[in-house]
Symmetry: C2
DNA sequence: CATTGTCCTAATGTTGACATCAAGACATCG
DNA sequence: CGATGTCTTGATGTCAACATTAGGACAATG
């Protein structure tokens, strides 16, 4: 048994910097393609360049920013190809996470999922802040990964989590009504299947949930080239 | 078309340091559990602590070492739970990589796979250096991920690649004959399926390939506790 | 004797200065 | 006029000194 209380984490400035910059990106302060200069960030955040650098390295690992040797760091763009890549990986990851969580989830995990769904419904009933709704969406899936209890799987999830967050933010800009109309029902169904569904159905629905999100996002993207040959699946 | 030659990568000292330390771990110089002190490494590698630090951060992302705030960096241990986690994730990743590569692989990729299988056979016919054989095994799967052409998938693969390498090295220590007897055939079959197999069979065999490796490794691990309840799947 | 509190030390976290580099402006040459 | 070379500039890469911390040795205490 691992210790129940995981040691009150005292974090370093690098984590702090990473969180701040990530939030700034999500808030739109740094739009896709924007350059993140270390000196500028260091001054604005009141920390040294070294800490900023380490924080940016973490965001790079999350795929939220890109950088090369002596070539600076920039926020990723959202192209159709990027979306295809992320969602293809996410489908595989979510499928594994769901089936694993189906066996390993505790009562706390399951009730937290219900709570998150309830918060989504409340948020929609109220003003329905798009950003908050997206955060709840991500948190829901965070909880599934946590319930699965596979540290490596969670690490892999972290490599696309922030990108997904960015994609969702763009998605609600383009088709908020469509998103708002489906988000509660889809997540409620997933939560129910995690409680009492059979693994087969759960795995299928988890993948379909991802595919639904992917199509919704691609439809709203500027019709740039490179859609590749992925639309063959059709309807059944 | 992205530029055919990916720009002669001039790498920094951090990458260099990461490669050196990784190789030292694989060579057994730093056994599992060993502490990696920044000052010591900086002196031995002839670079600054900052570069070593950045390199160690990369190895942390690869899961090959673990570290906490103000608590140093140590090589990971190989417990049964770690093995279960890595192989569960790897099965999902390999499945996606194989089915994607089935559609996207170029002739170059496929012939390189054949070449790697041939090198394995040659290596076994000759002295059969265990470490080199493992390197070829990993390189084979690297090639499949490269053929799939999904950058995010490759990133996720990198988060377990080095751990897998370490596991394999331990596996050949415990059951080299068993490994040597199967490695060529299994990989040859995968290469063949990538050329002309149907996706369904390919996906199944890719998962079974991982499962075979997992069982082989677990059998050779010290019968330490914590095997969890993973083997009970049949009865309830 | 077990427990608690204090101190010490060896490591990591953080910083600002210095070295190096990529990319574009500009002049030069064919 | 286009191609090539150089030079400037603004950034990142690297470094060594300083600040902070975790963990253990050790004595005081009940």
């Amino acid at each position: 048994m691992s210790s129940a209380l995981p040691r009150a984490a005292r974090r370093g400035l690098a984590d702090e910097a990473a969180d701040l910059v990530r939030a700034a990106i999500f808030s739109g302060h740094f739009p896709p393609g924007a350059a993140l200069r270390e000196v500028e960030l260091a001054e604005r955040l009141g920390v040294s360049r070294g800490s900023v650098r380490e924080g940016l390295a973490r965001l790079t690992q999350e795929g939220l920013v890109r950088g090369g040797w002596h070539r600076g760091t920039t926020v990723i763009e959202v192209t159709a190809e990027d979306v295809q890549e992320v969602y293809a990986l996410r489908a595989a990851l979510d499928r594994l996470a769901a089936t694993t969580a189906r066996r390993a989830a505790t009562a706390e995990h399951l009730s937290r999922l219900d709570q998150l769904v309830a918060e989504m419904a409340t948020e929609i009933a109220a003003g329905s802040d798009a950003h908050r709704l997206v955060a709840l969406d991500i948190a829901f899936h965070d909880q599934i990964y946590a319930a699965a209890g596979n540290g490596r799987l969670t690490t892999a999830w972290r490599t696309i989590r922030s990108q997904l967050h960015l994609f969702h933010l763009r998605r609600v800009d383009a088709a908020y009504d469509h998103y708002r109309a489906r988000v509660v029902d889809e997540h409620r169904e997933l939560a129910a299947l995690l409680r009492s569904g059979d693994s087969r159905t759960l795995a299928r629905r988890a993948e379909e949930h991802v595919d639904s999100a992917r199509r919704s996002l691609l439809a709203g993207l500027p019709a740039c080239a490179g859609t590749k040959s992925a639309e063959a699946s059709g309807h059944h």
